[in-house]
Subunit: 149 residues, 2 copies
DNA sequence: TCCAATGACTTCACGCGTGAAGTCAACCTA
DNA sequence: TAGGTTGACTTCACGCGTGAAGTCATTGGA
């Protein structure tokens, strides 16, 4: 990384470490306790908070920060485990609705406390309120929309 | 994500998006132009900047923010393509040294300008100097060391 | 009314990351 | 100097993500 001044290089190096190491850190406890990946948890968690615990696949993919293809694979596994059912949207057959089963809801409910503790421990607690606001601002500026595919 | 107040939730949501979407954004141009993953590039780039363009595997893994196992697999592929050679450290046979070949050096040199442009476009340019300093500070606070394995 | 276009998925082959188990060199201790 | 220990890798099986290609429902012209 030549051609960056010291300040730029520090920011870049810090960001890269964050982006490469944090997911593993946040995922380990989930994987251990519930056999879920971080993305798995985000998906389940978002459906569980939706009205009637159901949501269109495309909206869910966007909320969970993943591609539709990735979500489709994940939801297929969930369906095989009985955590979710899929059916075409009655209002427009082009959409698919993913609906959380009671069993699926139990899975999120069981995983949530552990996950929340992890998030606090590794992300929220080490930061001051000022840091958290700066993080929000920075993330918004760097936010990118999901590509097609 | 219940049980977080609004400020915490914003920070967490922003961070998660960053962490899940940025790698893909940064990697796409590298993959397109040079057939390299982001981690591939970091590895090559760090060896290329080391004295004599060689470095111990464990040090390289740490610099590139990856596990030794991951690095070992990557370097094996590099070796098959003739970009790197490996040999035991003459000073201490327990270490392995990875050494960049001329061909490997050409690969990094060719990929660097594109990558640098990507980093500026998606990370550095959207941020003010204040943002970048805040990012450095935040990343330092969230920094975690690589786990064993 | 038909058919091309659009867009929401789904599938599959390929390549990569993970983590457990194995190998090996140097060190330590009796 | 033998045997145990440590730590630096390496390997492999497994599961997951990617992106291209395919399917299908709906829409908007001609």
């Amino acid at each position: 990384m030549e051609w960056l001044n010291a300040e730029e290089k520090e920011a870049w190096t810090g960001l890269i470490s964050l982006v490469l190491l944090l997911p593993g850190r946040l995922e380990a406890p989930l994987q251990q306790d519930a056999g879920l990946s971080l993305f798995d948890y985000l998906v389940l968690s978002h459906v569980s908070e939706a009205p009637d615990r159901r949501m269109r696949m495309s909206e869910l993919a966007h909320l969970a920060n993943g591609s539709l293809s990735r979500l489709s694979n994940v939801v297929k596994r969930f369906e095989q485990r009985g955590w979710v059912v899929r059916f075409p949207d009655p209002d427009d057959g082009r959409y698919t609705i993913a609906s959380l089963t009671d069993e699926g809801f139990e899975v999120v409910k069981a995983a949530a406390p552990t996950h929340l503790r992890t998030v606090r421990q590794f992300v929220l607690d080490p930061l001051t309120a000022t840091d958290r606001q700066a993080l929000t601002r920075i993330a918004a500026k760097l936010k990118v929309t999901i590509p097609p595919a």
